[in-house]
């Protein structure tokens, strides 16, 4: 009888457990589909941004978004699909019915596969582990955005962090049929392996724009419809190229100039010398000069050095690290940024006339910064001979807006070398423009090296800075709001430059955070034990007295 009761009770238990598991499973499935989220991050990093919402609201017509995902993706990539679904459903909710979203598995449809390959969405190899072996399977993870005859694709979604930017940029592109062209004036260094190359920068910029590199010697005229010109000042420019840039600016063009005043000599170890380049004269005529000095800063990035067989990392004052306070608070291109590293940079200043233009310092060093003059000593372990009086902020980037006067006004026009005159031919006169209206835009950054492959891999935040100023000039501020939220760097600040004071602050926090509370807890425990003993003693005495009575 007892045995039957136990069996009955066990069966009841198992049934109840299975029932509970079923109920909980159902509740979780339900909650998975109907959920609420509160994004507590300061910049609402996990919510669709204001910029994207504005773009979605202004769609005005149906845009088709088709996500091509294979059904059997390896586990890691399957997780990305869920995140893409979440993001696209948020997009649809803000689009006021103008976004048609569809998920398609092209794996079994050979015709569709071929069409996708033509569109630029390839079947990509994806790694996974099966039976303890690394195997490669093929799959689709791309998105196509179609508006009328205009199409854009995101070929492969590596991770979700850039997807909002890429999607919104693609939406802007399909809506605006005009191609946005950036002319890159500088030597074309698009080799991925070259540390001094610009492969990663061009790859990023090409997602939104069409980047056309032009060697300085080939720049004779810059078409007016160009959205932006970026001048890589790492090599000197011939007069004709300067003239082309100047005339483009006079037609209310938008120009970013990256320039150095001190060049490094890689053949002689860490040595540097100042340089005079033609672009410096052009900039001076617009009111910006760059000093023959190198900026050093106590707020700096670490750099790797070789000493024979040994490699070591050291804080390097010649790589100033700009923190949140170093960015102009009023300029939307930079006021959300947290960090930027400008290596071997020189201070900019305003010289001459800047009438008719507003000049805004975009980036400045910390208060504990100073400058060094020739001959330059780049040794990271040198003894710095500086006093409090030497410390001052340096401006490393300026934003100029307004009316520019031509550098070539009253000067002869440099000849176009691509159109040599033959004897007897009449010289075709070019019409020179002496000044722009009040719509000219120029940004000057005192470094060319901060966007090389090597520096972008060390300091990805540099890419964000450049992309923001490019977007700011070329397409306005629509996309800046999205990217500036991807902030990763919130550096510590000790509020002092004295190394001893910094060390003592570190020790204070270390002690406070590690042992202060445990010591208090131990004291609390000892006090409590003593009080309990006392109370016990009193109770025992009380009971003895009662017993005697």
């Amino acid at each position: 009888m007892a045995k039957r009761h136990i069996v009955q009770s066990s069966t009841q238990s198992v049934t109840l457990i299975i029932l509970l598991m079923g109920i909980l499973f159902f509740i979780n499935i339900l909650s998975y589909r109907l959920f609420m989220r509160a994004d507590l991050t300061e910049k609402k990093e996990y919510t669709v941004s204001e910029s994207t919402r504005n773009v979605l609201k202004s769609l005005g017509d149906i845009v088709n978004v088709t996500a091509y995902f294979s059904q059997d993706l390896p586990p890691y990539h399957a997780g990305i699909r869920t995140q893409v679904e979440d993001l696209l459903s948020e997009y649809a909710a803000y689009s006021e019915g103008n976004l048609n979203i569809e998920f398609v598995d092209p794996s079994a449809d050979e015709e569709l596969k071929a069409r996708l390959a033509r569109m630029g969405i390839p079947e990509v190899p994806l790694g996974e582990i099966k039976r303890d072996k690394q195997v490669i399977s093929m799959g689709f993870m791309g998105i196509a955005i179609q508006y009328g005859d205009n199409g854009e694709v995101i070929p492969f979604i590596r991770n979700i962090s850039n997807l909002e930017y890429d999607l919104t940029a693609a939406l802007l592109k399909v809506k605006d049929k005009t191609e946005k062209i950036i002319i890159w004036v500088g030597e074309s260094k698009t080799d991925q392996q070259d540390p001094e190359g610009h492969y990663f920068l061009h790859e990023e910029l090409n997602k939104t724009f069409v980047v056309r590199p032009m060697a300085p010697a080939q720049v004779t005229v810059i078409p007016k419809r160009t959205s932006l010109v970026i001048v890589d000042g790492s090599s000197d420019l011939p007069d004709r190229a300067l003239y082309a840039i100047d005339q483009y600016l006079m037609q209310d063009g938008k120009v970013i100039v990256l320039t150095d005043r001190v060049t490094l000599n890689p053949d002689q170890g860490l040595s540097a010398a100042s340089t005079d380049q033609s672009i410096h004269g052009l900039l001076e005529s617009y009111g910006i000069s760059i000093a023959k000095e190198l900026v050093a800063d106590r707020s700096n990035a670490m750099a790797m050095f070789n000493s024979g067989m040994v490699r070591f990392r050291l804080p390097y004052p010649f790589w100033p690290k700009i923190g949140r306070l170093g960015f102009s608070p009023d300029n939307p291109a930079v006021n959300q940024l947290e960090s930027l590293v400008l290596p071997w940079t020189s201070p900019l200043s305003i010289t001459g006339q800047v009438d008719g233009r507003t000049v805004v310092p975009l980036v400045e060093t910390s208060e504990v910064s100073w400058v060094t003059r020739e001959p330059f000593d780049l040794n990271p372990q040198q003894k710095w001979d500086i006093t409090e009086d030497d410390l001052r902020k340096s401006i490393l980037a300026y934003d100029l807006t307004g009316r520019f006067i031509s550098y070539f006004s009253g000067k002869p026009i440099p000849k176009d070398p691509s159109a040599p005159l033959t004897a007897g031919e009449e010289e075709e006169t070019e019409e020179e423009i002496d000044s722009s209206t009040d719509q000219g835009r120029l940004i000057v950054v005192a470094s060319t090296r901060f966007i090389t492959n090597q520096f972008l891999s060390l300091h990805p935040e540099n890419m964000m800075f450049l992309q923001n100023i490019v977007d700011h000039l070329a397409i306005g501020n629509d996309l800046i709001g999205i990217r500036s939220r991807q902030v990763t760097d919130r550096p510590l600040s000790f509020g002092t430059t004295d190394e001893k004071a910094v060390e003592s602050k570190k020790t204070f926090h270390r002690v406070m955070g590690t042992v202060m509370i445990p010591i208090l807890i131990v004291f609390f425990g000892l006090a409590r034990t003593a009080m309990r003993k006392q109370a016990k003693k009193q109770r025992e005495q009380g009971s003895k007295e009662t017993h005697h009575e």
Binding site: I6, M36, R37, L40, P75, A78, G79, L492, G513
Partner: protein, 238 residues
Amino acid sequence: MNDVLAIFRREFRSYFDSPVAYIFITVFLVLAGWLFYSGFFIMNFASLRSYFDLLPWMFLFFVPAVTMRLWSEEKKLGTMELLMTLPVRDIDVVIGKFLASFSFMTLTILLTFPLIITVFALGNPDSGPIIGGYLGAILMGGAYLSIGMFASSLNENQIIAFILGVVICFGLFMVGEGFVLMRVPGSWAAFFQYLGLGSHFRSIGRGVIDSRDIVYYFSVIFFFLFMNLRALESRKGH
């Protein structure tokens, strides 16, 4: 409700009547602080992320250590029968004990507040991930506790209860981690990831309070408390 409160008070006080609580809190805080500060100044970021990354692993050993004595000790000291014959319902005892250990664990987590002082004094951290990290830690700790309590109800040997608790927590944590997800079929990956204790903690720890994560943790807590109750009842049946 009064019975739950009475059990809660008795249990919570009992933590501080023995040196165990003081040793536990001290070791936890010193270890968390030491591990956090050893990387904090090198990383140079005003964030508690490195501390929260450690928590699931620290909980794996600390939480079963808190719960191992909850039932095992009662059985060993013979107070279990006394407790079970008192005019209180089993469910009240289970909830009272759980709330006591939950409050003790929450107190321990909150005592790491000097780390918050450090990051705010030396930088400009995003408070969202800090709030999310603490909330996630408390919820994940609750899930670990319910598992540990269940393990303790199965055996009167504290060491076995501890090991059993660690094993179940480890299993439910690892099932949602990349190491396991890489080895399961793609169509099951999302399910396994959802099942894992750590993935929901990371989700809340980003600073996003998601109802799905909260429902998940409450489900785990509820399920293991129910299992705990069944284990007690089956013991009574015998």
